[in-house]
């Protein structure tokens, strides 16, 4: 009978011992998570006030960051989006740090991977932001140059520049995130190379005369305007 009771009690004791060993870790995790959430909440409040004082939303409006958000059908204030993003980042980080306090091998690996991935994710966001600004600037520059050059397809050209740069920066961001890097690089090379070859061929076929004139430095032939004609009343 005693043997049977020992047989029953042994696993319970073992669980209890394991639980006693695990409990401080669990309490540590809870403490870290609660503190982290509190820190995230405080940061949210302070950041919200600071951004308001700095007129962050107005700055976003002026730099077209708000316009970019609206294109994605996000209709909250930029400061609210930033504050929410930072709040959730703090929350996730504190949960991850809390999990690592549990000292479980599988979770530790996951946490390590998360922290290793974080810089890549931030870099990707940064690449997208810079890409948006650069593509906007270069597309505008192309539009102004094309309009000043009297090209009838100025708007189309500007949109094409914007689209190509958007593809380039999107591919860079995906590559940074390590999302199927081989496919991304191959697809990008094929698409971008294809576009450039198509442009080169179409210019070679359709614009051979123009290219010839440009190379020879020939000026446009004078029109039929005759001096002395009345041009307007």
């Amino acid at each position: 009978m005693e043997g049977f009771i020992d047989l029953v009690m042994e696993p319970i004791k073992e669980v209890f011992i394991k639980f006693r060993l695990f409990l401080p870790n669990f309490l540590a995790m809870l403490t870290i998570v609660v503190l982290g959430l509190f820190l995230a909440w405080i940061t949210k409040k302070i950041l919200s006030k600071v951004l308001n004082v700095l007129r962050f939303d107005s700055w976003c409006d002026k730099t077209s960051i708000t316009a970019m958000m609206r294109k994605g059908d996000i209709w909250t204030k930029p400061s609210d989006v930033l504050v929410s993003a930072i709040f959730w980042l703090f929350t996730i980080v504190s949960v991850m740090v809390g999990f690592s306090a549990l000292n479980i091998h599988a979770i530790n690996n996951l946490v390590t991977q998360f922290f290793l991935y974080l810089p890549s994710a931030l870099s990707a966001v940064l690449i997208l932001l810079i890409g948006y600004m650069v593509s906007g600037f270069l597309s505008r520059a192309a539009l102004i140059a094309a309009v000043n050059g009297g090209l009838s397809y100025a708007k189309f050209l500007a949109n094409a520049v914007r689209l190509l740069l958007a593809v380039l920066f999107f591919a860079m961001a995906l590559e940074q995130l390590n999302v199927a890097p081989n496919i991304v690089v191959s697809a990008f090379t094929i698409i971008f190379g294809g576009i450039v070859i198509a442009l080169a061929i179409s210019f070679g076929i359709a614009g051979i005369e123009t290219a010839k004139k440009i190379i020879e430095g020939k000026e446009a032939e004078p029109g039929n305007d005759k001096k002395g004609d009345v041009e307007h009343i």
Binding site: D61, K62, S64, T66, R70, K71, D73, W75
Partner: protein, 402 residues
């Protein structure tokens, strides 16, 4: 039939003979290929429950030269917005309903506020201004026509005659204001008949025919809410958001364009819409509010043109106005008599007394705050402050209409 007499400094396009609607519309169809036209309709949801709007939709469905309608819907819930989209669906061309109280448009207004741009209070002025922004953002239409949504006597001929002078490439007017008679069994349009015309003529006397007053006096119906203009004008003109909308808009037209490129067109035989109460006791509503806002707008425009106002000036103005308005009543009494119309002389005299008080209130408001302006900034300034605002506005409207 009207006479062909030309008044003032702008061109008056009369309704002579029996002009064919088919001919005008055929020409407009041709011209609108190179000058696409957008029609702006500022509307309240309550107007869709009235008699006027179903008739307007029925007529607009037959129009073939309008490229796009931008209906700015105010005071409507989400459900009512969806209902309005359904009601507008018989119109076979592009219709965009701007939901003024929707989440996206509210955020657009918040964007203006946080960048120190005041689009003013909710009303026709703000709605029209927002619609102009959409037309500019869309970049398709060169001409914008606007009319109210409470016109009981609406016909598509009105729209055709309004658009014709601006869309016609050889006439090439930049702004066309509609005019019409406001007569049923009696004469309506008290504010135009008994306030604007006598007031402007008194001011002309006191300011030795200031060119702006000559310009304003040239309009047969300066308070008409129907006009057509080029999209370029919508970009540079500032418009008031209060009752001074029509007069303030004319002041901006005067400031930015030569009168040679401005015209007014006789757009319909008779015009009937909802009437405002006089509200002589309460200057915060009805025709009294309209009077004060209109007078303030005229005074501020004249001050900005260099006219110096004093206490004595306004006292003289009130006395001169009262005399001229009384003389005007006699003229209208005779006009009503010969045409067999009902004419309540006492009611007209009461209106003149209320308008005289309104002029005094507007003068007082002008002295207290001569700089105070109800003008909404023009779109050039708005895009300078917020470069991406037009894209945002277009996205908001397009998403709401998806």
């Amino acid at each position: 039939m009207a006479d062909f007499y030309q008044t003032g400094t702008i061109t008056t396009l009369h309704r002579l003979g029996k002009p064919s609607l088919e001919r005008i519309e055929a020409e407009l169809n041709e011209y609108s290929k190179t000058r696409p036209v957008a029609l702006v309709l500022p509307a309240l949801y309550s107007e869709f429950e009235g008699k006027a709007m179903p008739k307007i939709i029925e007529e607009l469905a037959k129009v073939t030269y309008i490229n796009k309608i931008i209906l700015v819907l105010a005071k409507a819930s989400e459900k009512e917005f969806v209902r309005v989209k359904e009601l507008m669906s018989p119109i076979p061309y592009d219709v965009k309903v701007v939901h003024n109280d929707g989440k996206r448009i509210k955020e657009i207004y918040n964007t203006f506020s946080r960048n120190d741009l005041d689009p003013g209070a909710d009303g026709k002025g703000r709605s029209a201004w927002l619609a102009y922004g959409y037309v500019i953002a869309d970049g398709v239409c060169d001409v914008i026509a606007l009319h109210d949504c409470d016109i009981l006597t609406y016909s598509r001929e009105m729209l055709a005659r309004l658009c014709y002078p601006v869309v016609h490439p050889n006439l090439d007017y930049v702004f066309c204001k509609g005019f019409y008679s406001r007569v049923t069994d009696k004469m309506h349009g008290r504010v135009t008949r008994l306030l604007i015309t006598p007031l402007v003529r008194c001011l002309r006397t006191l300011t030795e025919n200031h060119p702006f007053l000559v310009f304003l006096d040239s309009f047969r119906y300066p308070l008409a809410g129907e006009f057509c203009m080029t999209t370029d004008m919508a970009r540079v003109n500032r418009i008031p958001w209060d009752w001074g909308l029509e007069v303030g808009a004319l002041a901006e037209v005067y400031r930015n364009y030569s009168p040679r490129r401005i015209c007014q067109a006789d757009i319909m035989d008779t015009y009937e819409h909802k009437h405002q109460i006089l509200s002589a006791e309460d200057p915060a509503k009805g025709l009294m509010k309209m009077t004060v806002d209109i007078c303030k707008s005229i005074f501020r425009t004249l001050a900005s043109e260099g006219v110096v106002f004093s206490d004595g000036f306004f006292k003289t103005l009130q006395v001169a106005y009262l005399r001229m308005a009384e003389d005007t009543i006699m003229k209208f009494e005779a006009d009503a008599a010969i045409n067999g119309l009902t004419f309540d002389r006492h009611e007209e005299a009461k209106a003149v007394e209320a308008f005289t008080n309104g002029i005094g209130m507007a003068a007082q408001a002008f002295f207290e705050n001569p700089m105070g302006s109800a003008l909404i900034p023009n779109w050039n300034r708005v895009t300078s402050a917020i470069p991406g605002i037009l894209d945002m506005l277009k996205k908001a409207v397009d998403e709401d209409n998806r």
